[in-house]
Amino acid sequence: MHRHQELCERAVDPLEIAAGLEAHGITDRTAARFRHRDVFSLAEEMYARVSRDGDAPTPEAPAAPRARTDWALLTLLPGTLCTAAVAAVHLTHGRSRLFAAAAGTLAVALAFRAALHRGPLSRPDRTVPGRSTTRTSWLVAYALLGNGLLDGAIAGGPDSLPTGTADGPWPLTTTPVLALALACAPAAWTAHLFTARARRKLAASRGLEDFAAAVRPLLFGTFVLFLGALAALLTLCAAVLDEPAAYAETLTLGALLFLARLLTTHGFAYAPAVVLTATATLQAAALAAVFTSRLPGCGFLATPVETLVTTWGAGSVPALACGTAALALLVHATRKLTRASAHAPPEPSR
């Protein structure tokens, strides 16, 4: 009996003891020596006799996903390349500037792809193709070109293609894009922090309600941390590039993209896709409304957009669109990401 003390203490039913005893070579003949008919009745007696009032030990926290150097370095790549591209565009002229811009865009896009392919921002199931790449590209492109186009359109233009400078007739606003590219690294790190902390909470909490209550502040903390990092980067970029820092539109866009990615990585791809589509559609509609108003009889269409632009500037359109969308996603995330099933450890792929 004392030899199998441990077995008896951890067993959840007599059959488990019986199986364990048989694995130790105890047969019915052995059981008969203890005045039992068979191993099963011996196991039942052992199960009944052993005292199980010792508290179950608190389970060890599962090993949090380790911060690995490969993805940590990869997340720095988009920012670095984007800085290089912006520098190249600033230093070159004419046709070579066009090439530099094209090459820079391509390089940054590839770097983003690589950075999002592994680490905490990667999707759990690679088999399903990503559905929000187009919308994300549109939103970023609008941040780069949109405000200039909108200003020009309201003023009657645009009369020429963008020249790649901030003071042309169709000015480029590179600050938000550069800041966003640089913010890829803090986004990955904060997401990693969120995942690791959530896993720890998962092991520690006793009920689903407890878990939700513990994760909610964690989610907000992560979100605020990311926004702070983005704001700092934005200030830095604006100072270096000597452009106005468009806080409202950049922060809302960054928040939107961060939340969308966070939801997608936890397996909720549907809502982010819908919200991103809606935002992109809204921005496109604002531009389209301005252009349509030039047709005879359609002048009333541009009135709301023109009012917005004249009151708060061209940046208010994307800021409003992205802000609303980010708020919607934040509400959605507080509902979905506080569920335990969102943080289930991934199935071991065999």
Binding site: P14, A23, T27, A340, A342, R350
Partner: protein, 582 residues
């Protein structure tokens, strides 16, 4: 007859369990058609491919158990409610919140595990077994609406599980479940219930077979249960190792809550399979006792011993004189459970009384642990028995030799057995001892420890000693070494017994008769359709549906011999009847 063979991680995969047995069965029953339905256990297994299939395998359908495609069906409101009801019921049964103990405890008091006659709410009042209800409810939901994989992974499932664990009356271990435990249980249940989402149960799948044969218990029996539920196909469950026991032994150091809930699930599933199956077969008495313990009806149980190919051993078995009278042989895979150390100590004892004796240990080590153990045994043998020579000019040799099959000395297994007069088995843990059966087929007398199914296999044809008792082992060996006549007598008896019980032919024959028995007892009534797909009236003669007892005395027989009241009517027919045929 068409048989649906259900396997899990087995036939027809190259690395499958019990594939040899299934292959022999399918080839041996060439007159029947087989539809193989296989669940694969890992991607690795799938990549390795299949073994060659005989022509009477009509089709093979496979499904992975290691991954599941989420069919992206989002359940509607009504379906979701149904899911919550069924899964809640399932969770309540598993956590014990229904007030009933898990299946296995009730056998002693109530006979069958499903006998928890506790009225439950709603539609299932008339059903006794809530687990079966919940299981089939989920299966019906998966069949009609789909989306079961997603639903089992969802928050609803985890929440339902939590509610069941916190309900009054839940088990102590289940009450202490933490969030991570709940998630682990939900993930495991999702994996275990994957067969529910398969499309095997239509009329062209398992609906078209006459009989489902599950080659193992547990997950493989689940499709059989569903086929029985949906189309009424009778089920036969064959277990050579009890799945429930394997589950207990392989359950890693999971938290108690997880182990408790999962043990309840597997126990319930096994009980359900045993109670619905027409016949349950086991490989030995030990497995049979587990099955009885889990609630299988005694009348349903049949023991079908595993079959061994007797041909390689025929030559050796028929020439018992080729044995070296002073050699003991041990054959098997070298691992700690075989307790070779005890054998070596026993051999030291034997050497004191029979100095000429030699011991041949034949076998390859199993895994790294086995290799280490083999090294340990070699050292011990070298310490216990110094090399010795016949004379001052001869080269010395150790009386204990370690060999492997395939060398020039021992080209085959039969030669290994042939070289010794007595085969020894010293294990402390053993399932079905194949090496003993081989020794018996070779006509060699055996000395073995009393573990596992040894006594059952040996019958009275060898000596049995307690495990971990080198002195008793030595006594038995010496007794046999000193008595050649007894050796020969017991060896012949052993060969006769093995040829009677443990050949492939008897195995196949046993399954053949079980198939026939099941089909005659539980035939499926199918509506025969014509070419247009409309039901064909009178295609099946009406007599087929008349429930008669064929064994009952028929009137014509009674006329001649039957006395008393049974003969009254025909006798009266000769006398004038009030409104007779006249």
């Amino acid at each position: 007859m068409r048989i649906g063979l259900l396997t899990e991680g087995g036939y027809p995969y190259v690395s499958g369990d019990a594939r040899l047995w299934c292959d022999r069965l399918v080839r041996g029953l060439g007159q029947h058609e087989f539809d193989v339905h296989a669940l694969s256990r890992s991607r690795h297994q799938e990549d390795e491919g299949w073994i060659p299939l005989p022509p009477n395998v009509r089709r093979v359908r496979t499904a992975p158990m290691w991954t599941a495609e989420d069919d992206e069906v989002v359940l509607g409101r009504r379906a979701r409610r149904r899911f919550t009801e069924c899964f809640g019921e399932l969770a309540a049964v598993l956590s014990g919140a229904s007030g009933g103990a898990p299946a296995v405890f009730q056998r002693s008091s109530a006979g069958t595990p499903g006998a928890a006659k506790r009225p439950s709410e709603g539609a299932s009042t008339h059903e006794a077994d809530r687990f079966a209800n919940a299981l089939y409810g989920l299966a019906e939901l998966a069949r009609e609406a789909g989306g079961l994989v997603g639903a089992l992974r969802s928050e609803t499932a985890v929440r339902t599980l939590e509610r069941a664990c916190r309900a009054p009356g839940a088990h102590r271990a289940a009450r202490e479940a933490r969030v991570s435990d709940l998630l682990a249980v939900a993930a495991h249940l999702e994996r275990a219930l994957r067969p529910l989402s398969l499309d095997w149960y239509e009329d062209d799948g398992l609906g078209a077979v006459d009989l489902c044969h599950a080659a193992s218990g547990g997950p493989a029996a689940l499709p059989g249960l569903l086929a029985r539920h949906f189309t009424g196909v009778p089920l036969l469950v064959s277990e050579y190792g009890v799945r429930l026991r394997t589950h207990y032994l392989t359950a890693p150091d999971a938290p108690p809550a997880v182990r408790s809930l999962l043990a309840a699930f597997h126990g319930r599933l096994a009980a359900e399979a045993y109670s619905r199956a027409e016949v349950v077969t086991s490989g030995n008495t030990h497995a049979r006792r587990w099955q009885e313990r889990c609630g299988a009806d005694r009348e349903k149980l049949r023991t079908v011993y595993p079959g061994m190919d007797a041909r390689p051993f025929a030559e050796v078995g028929e020439s018992p004189e080729c044995a070296d009278p002073d050699t003991l042989v041990w054959v098997g895979r070298v691992e700690p459970a075989k307790d070779l150390v005890s054998l070596l100590h026993a051999f030291a004892e034997i050497r004191k009384r029979q100095p000429k004796t030699r011991l041949r240990i034949v076998g390859a080590p199993a895994g790294s642990e086995g290799t280490a153990y083999l090294g340990h045994c070699r050292t011990l043998a070298a310490q216990l028995f110094p090399d010795e020579a016949d004379g001052p000019h001869a080269t010395g040799d150790n009386p204990v030799s370690f060999e492997e099959i395939g060398g020039p000395e021992l080209p085959s297994l039969a030669d290994a057995y042939a070289s010794g007069a007595v085969t020894v088995l010293s294990s402390v843990v053993e399932g079905f001892p194949i090496s003993l059966v081989e020794a018996m087929l070779c006509g060699r007398v055996t000395v073995s420890t009393d573990v596992g199914a040894v006594v059952e296999v040996i019958g009275g044809t060898g000596l049995v000693v307690p495990p971990r008792n080198p002195r008793a082992l030595a006594e038995a060996c010496v007794a046999l070494l000193r008595d050649p006549a007894r050796r020969a007598r017991l060896g012949a008896a052993a060969r006769a017994r093995a040829l009677e019980l443990f050949t492939v032919e008897q195995n196949i024959e046993a399954f053949h008769s079980i198939y026939l028995e099941i089909v005659s007892r539980a035939p499926i009534r199918r509506v025969v359709l014509d070419e247009a797909g409309a039901p064909l009236p009178f295609a099946v003669p009406a007599e087929a549906h008349v429930p008669i007892r064929w064994a009952a005395p028929s009137p014509s027989l009674v006329v001649r011999g039957g006395p008393g009241w049974a003969t009254a009517r025909p006798v009266r027919a000769t006398t004038p009847a009030p409104e007779g045929a006249r």
